[in-house]
Symmetry: C2
């Protein structure tokens, strides 16, 4: 998004400073993994949204830098700990912290990184700190709750689509809403405007996550950059799988259950057959409709936001760009 | 300490409410371990000190309750995660969280508990939140750093007594200083008074930790309630062991190194022989002198504190009670 190049430059400068300071801090064993995970990159959507949330009200986004850093530190803490929980070997194509160092280092540097987020937040303008701390800590707990629900789903035999939406809302979407709202708090925006931005970010986040599920099955292999059908192979309880179980007739239920529990069948065969059931039930279309529904809610909140009109258009374009994927 | 029974009652009530709210929160998998660890008890020294730190200035200690809860939540978060790091089976005579549930649950409920500490802190009077957040987050990071240094010591061949004091300062002592200072912040105490209280708590904490090392070797077996010499058996780098290595002649160094690396020798024999070297070098007396030194520094800060005189006497008595152990 070239339109955000100024904000992105501001962000990159602050991130670079943060990374340098982490890189130089002692004890190295605790701080080096923090510098490492920050250095792995990523799209920096969350801290960018914080700056956008401030800039929308024509307030100098520099005052939202502590919030932007806090959001990115929290996000990266959660990546370190989620990778332990998932026993993941790779993060953004690189070795995860617990693999590169060890579990104890990953646990402790994650802890330190989370506290660091709160410490950085304290550099905000004093009059904003109360509101920022309330929102940031509430969101932080929700992200943990979302992660716990996700873990519960792995062994929970029956998960409803509704529970799934709640889970992704907590695990992923609220941090996007929070990122935008923190920027708005720094700009002294009204509570009404803050709420519109929060809801906008949250519903974009929900739509994004549902589309991510769809993409995992229906993406163009080469463009997607990872194995298509990975979620099906790992029996991940996605929107489409849960919806399929809700809509399936008894024969389809039996088929799905068989495919999910059968260890003899090849991955290719499994993806093909589960996808065929998805197609028969039309769950892709239902997922797209659900994502569109959340996108519409998001855009309605944006339209009701009282802020710089051309900057609102820019944010709309940015969100649609994030959501505009090959499906 | 009967003198603090009113403050303790206030504290117990708040802790009970916090525990009940944790017990009722969802998802259970994340919140039940938090209620469990809080329920294991302990002396509640830290949150009590927070109330004391406020009460010293004749300000109603109820306004320091959010700080007291935050301190206790942080302390309990650190217990959950430290027990994972140490692979400890027991905490206060009960099964540790990661043993009772599992590692993932312990990791995530610890994370949630730490964020919860910050959320509770946000319930403080708005004009105190900035100062509280600065102190609490700075201390939180130092506690993590102390834990990392402690982990490093396990594999570090040479650790100086100086490094050891730094480690226990971060890992244990700063949270005591922080607890008191947070109470003082809530009472609108001057920065000078806040600093005196912080330094008082910190140096009491250092003295306490050194005495804890001495007690592990020289305590009366029955009164101590745990195996005497446990630190020697586990080769823990305590003040006395590090001091012994610094003072030992070449023969004693060789002997110590032999005793620490020999796996054939019985635990009883090992404790007896290492203690004999300690006695020959007089490291018990040196440790006691170091602890007394920190106690003196603490009491000097207390004497310079401008607060209610009789309440200062009470705090002095409380600290000496904590430090007055069988050695």
């Amino acid at each position: 998004m070239q339109e955000y190049s100024n904000l992105f430059q501001l962000l990159q400068k602050a991130l670079h400073e943060e990374q340098t300071s982490l890189h130089n801090a002692e004890p190295k064993e605790m701080y080096e993994p923090m510098a490492y995970i920050i250095g792995l990159g990523g799209k920096r959507v969350r801290p960018l949204l914080t700056l956008v949330g401030c800039d929308l009200f024509d307030v100098n986004p520099e005052i939202a830098i502590p919030s932007a850093m806090a959001v990115e530190l929290f996000h990266n803490f959660s990546l370190i700990h989620d990778d332990i929980l998932d026993n993941a070997p790779l993060r953004r194509g690189n070795t995860t912290v617990h693999e590169k160092w060890n579990h104890n280092i990953a646990l402790l540097s994650g802890d330190g990184m989370m506290v660091k987020g709160f410490q950085v937040l304290a550099k905000s303008k004093p009059e904003h700190i109360h509101a920022l701390l309330n929102l940031y800590s509430k969101t932080g707990i929700e992200v943990c709750e979302g992660q716990q629900y996700d873990m519960n789903f792995e062994t929970q035999s029956k998960v409803s689509v509704h529970e799934y939406i709640d889970m992704i809302t907590y695990k992923t979407a609220v941090l996007l809403g929070c990122s935008l709202q923190m920027g708005a708090i720094c700009a002294d925006a009204s509570i009404t405007n803050q709420n519109h931005l929060y809801e906008f970010g949250k519903h974009v986040g929900i739509a994004f996550q549902i589309l991510d599920d769809v993409l995992d099955v229906y993406a163009d292999d080469e463009k997607f950059g990872k194995q298509v059908g990975g979620d099906i192979i790992s029996n991940k309880k996605t929107f489409m799988l849960l919806d399929a179980f809700e809509l399936a007739n008894s024969m389809q239920t039996e088929q799905l259950t068989y495919l999910l529990s059968n260890k003899e069948i090849t991955n290719e065969e499994k993806v093909k057959k589960v996808t065929a059931i998805y197609n028969a039930l039309g769950v892709k279309e239902l997922a797209l409709a659900e994502a569109n529904n959340h996108t519409d809610i998001a855009l309605k909140h944006l339209s009701e936001l009282d802020a710089n009109a051309s900057k609102k258009e820019l944010l709309k374009a940015f969100a649609l760009h994030l959501l505009n994927r090959d499906n």
